[in-house]
Symmetry: D2
Subunit: 331 residues, 4 copies
């Protein structure tokens, strides 16, 4: 299977996964989950919207919750480096037949609404209002002590299209998974910021948001947050883990479902990947059982995701069922 | 339901859970599991026997592995305080119609073989050969860094008999579980050493050893040992966890199956219970879902245990199925 | 140097270090330190007194703060097992010419005020009012998450007298330090509850309270609490550590001074010592440099302690200066 | 005080701190320190050179030890993105009157030797031989489990020159310290890889290497490595910490001196800084006492550093003594 060559000097510079905008049914319930339990910092709030950030983040928000009748992911946000990059991005997306629209978004600089080639609704900006990093404000450390947003995972049946599109704008492929019996792509892990993921695409009916991921400091917090979630009535929201991925990213993770079913990953570790000689790591599905321990992901984790607002599911073109855990792994 | 009164000055002093003797099929495989992976210290070994202890233990062994054709638990070991206590114990067990025999056991002082009222084969002694505590020998810290033995869990359909027998010799009941619809005992947690468990009895066909438990230092080790087990080919042996008990003991645990299927619990935390006003904590089965998060125990954990050598299963007298996880807990 | 033989069946049963009563100048400042920062649980409070306990403690208090004009330690509290033990204790202390007085103390059962042979004011009781253990109430976990009281350290020039007195009532000597050039005792570590310390005596002008010690869960808390103390204006109160003792107890510690200068040790680890063959571990002062790293204790830690209320300093009879760190250890 | 504007599209792309080359007196002693104790992975070794990397590093080396008669830092290594960047860098350094030389270095691609404007000997390359990341090879995790190189700190009396030079080639200033009584720069923290440091310059006689810094996973490792160093005879090498910086970077650190006196920082945490609106954080020397706890840095840490081979000390032009800890911080 051929992987496109990386473009080290893309036409415009997307720099990182920036923020996610989620529509939720009950803002107070979401606040109890994300702020009172997980420990996100509130940057601003009004009756309809909650702007949250992690303890180390100096940008205004990495997680925006808006009340609305039906849970959905509104948009996935990415940063570009400068205002020039934003104009170049607009031209690029337009030239590729993708929707572009300049919008006003509170606490953000000039903002472009667009979508990628598999239908993921995107929001790009170069700047946000700044906020103090709370990294030394130990008295506000709470719950999981979320530090910063790290990446998104999107479900789509058009994994190869996503790969080509994002590599074409300068993303690098850190890792990918192919099926055992063919070179067909099961998942691609793409990055701009020098660690293994900014956006990940996995083969399933889409576009849907599988999860947004945030970093937390230590294994201690991975276990403690589960205890606190249980205590605060969110125990059933611990969907999978604490555990370990035995494939791309190698994360020590826990996956949570928020009160609307949106999925959040908290994890403690990733690796740096910046150098030109870092080739994408290739995994076959069956490799993912090597070294494995712990409960396999539940069916919900394998199949469910948040709809994107205004982005209906496309016809599956080359859907493949999620692979069963290898027999060797079962007791 | 009535609980016997504690006896604060018993006729003889059992002081603590001491050691467990397991029969294993392949001593080298067990060594790879317990020594090379979990990190137990080898006190002595010959072609048939491996004597292991935790990093902080100054006694010769807390885990003895003997090769033999069929996996079984040979005996559960308890310490008495003095040689006098041993003689008084012998008299007590004999008077109660239980088998008693003085035996020679390497690295132990005078040793009594007997059994409790539900058929658990016991081994009592007042002293062992001493070994240096390795608590500051950081260069031997490895794997889970097991510190010391803590308790045993035994399956039996005669939970009330076990309760009365052990409280009669000075054990205190720290916690117990009753069924929701009756006062019938589901499990009793008994202790001598001032933390909540030395020996636990849970309702199931027995006598069988459900698990032996060892303390480890930090949550870090709880996750790291799973990773190392996976890496060393023992990933399928991670039976349940890392997780949290939402009932007696509150332990942060991981349950492992060794190469012969013997179950070991590693956990990081317990509480002190010494005072006379510490009343046994009563749980109903349905209470155990409060605050719960994470995967329920697999069927193997609920039903399987190690046979005791020479102690055939007794007829179940009041067997009850393991309770299903509460509906409220299922997604 | 001769160590007395342990008495395994003493005339009455002291069971453990129980609580400490400190007089403080400003109760609100002490509350900010112990409750808002360290994370102790408030069992009760009135305008003059604050009753605190650790997260796992079911007894009413392990730390009592009383407002008063001059900072001092009022009393060191110990538990006896039963009311009978209390009467036997009263007789014993009286027979030895030590002061005894029955007093009423809120939230405690019958209480005996007495003193040991070196002048430490003691308070003995068999019971307290019980309180819920907060061990699973994760939403109140805060600061250092103190779990329970562990031990006291007392300064006295009469270390041998203290040793003989406490071993005479059933304490066991877990470890001791002698000077390099003589067998003179520098420090003795005495225990009843089966881990290495309940009360420790170190050679210095006394009687004075050097510190009370509380357990905390993980190394994480050892570092985090320092950060939080700094943030809350108590940074100068971090007197020594986080560090490691290279002698008795081997604790991973941090020593704090509260707003009145009373010293508190927080530590994460100790070992179990119950068996009859556990001989006291002998250290020479020079052994304490083996394996050493980190800043030596400051002069304040070596010399300062809290006065006991109503217990004037006795004439030093065999005072020895604190040993200088070995030359080999200095850079 | 004026700070230059950042250059977001520099003429060539330096991407990150890459490696450090140290001359050591006894390679076996250094191996005992870095490999057997700290836990670095050996990529290659011969009788004169040891090539080491961290557990997550896929590049061949981040730490090179060469035996030689006099301890010194040979070079500080940086990565550029592509071979083109290397040529552009060569032209830039040459144009600025700095020495440039193409050299052959084992396991590296085309390599440029040059120096920065304050005399730091630099080594630039675009590629290295790759090695497997050991991130999942849990059986080789050992000691501090070093993950990857993060940054260098260099002493110089020409801090402003360093600032202007590095910002001129695209480095961003994340934080800086000025003296209380003037705007004179005391230290500048410069970065390329999106976290706060790649290279740091602090006012002192120079050029000298103050330290190289490596990331480690958890606070647990910060304490454990000190214990292991002590045990392995390197206890006196724990120069400062474990502690916390109360200024630029906020790191939870420990500073070590290797057998030749070269200083290594191990730390657990930094923050991400990528966005264009991230302004440099300005500190005055007196700010650095806010929230402070713990032992101030010893004189050795404040004054000593490794000479750079072939780079004699320049005349101090605006040397300032290291500021004394604020009186408010002393007990």
């Amino acid at each position: 299977m051929s992987i496109p060559d990386p473009i080290f000097r893309p036409a415009f510079a997307i720099t990182r996964a920036s923020h996610v905008v989620l529509r939720v049914a009950d803002l107070q319930k979401s606040r109890a989950f994300y702020v009172d339990t997980l420990g996100f910092v509130v940057s601003d709030e009004d009756s309809n919207t909650l702007y949250l950030r992690g303890l180390e983040e100096g940008c205004h928000h990495s997680l925006v919750l808006q009340s609305g009748s039906e849970p959905a992911c509104q948009r996935v946000g990415m940063r570009v480096l400068t205002e020039d990059d934003l104009d170049l991005a607009e031209a690029h997306f337009r030239r590729n037949g993708l929707p572009t629209q300049w919008v006003e978004v509170p606490f953000q600089g000039r903002t472009l609404h667009t979508a990628d080639v598999v239908g993921t609704p995107l929001e790009l900006c170069a700047t946000m209002t700044t906020q103090p990093r709370r990294i030394m404000d130990f008295e506000v450390f709470h719950g999981a002590c979320p530090q910063r947003i790290d990446h998104f995972q999107v479900l789509t049946n058009e994994v190869r299209s996503a790969l080509e599109f994002y590599m074409g704008v300068g993303f690098r492929l850190s890792e990918y998974i192919v099926h055992d019996d063919s070179d067909e792509l099961r998942a691609v892990f793409l990055q701009r910021k020098g660690n293994p993921h900014d956006i990940v695409f996995v083969n399933n009916a889409g576009p849907r948001l599988h999860h947004s991921a945030f970093t937390i400091p230590e294994i201690y917090h991975l276990m403690y947050i589960c205890d606190l979630l249980g205590r605060n009535g969110f125990g059933a929201g611990v969907e999978w883990g604490p555990g370990r991925h035995f494939g791309p990213g190698y994360a020590r993770f826990v996956y949570l479902r928020d009160p609307d079913g949106h999925r959040v990953e908290l994890f403690t570790n990733h690796y740096q990947t910046i150098d030109i000689e870092d080739e994408p790591i290739r995994w076959q599905v069956s490799d993912l059982n090597t070294g494995r321990w712990g409960t396999p992901p539940p069916a919900s984790w394998q199949q469910q995701g948040s709809a994107f607002a205004g982005a209906p599911l496309r016809q599956p073109d080359r859907a493949r069922p999620a692979p069963a855990p290898a027999a060797a792994y079962a007791r």
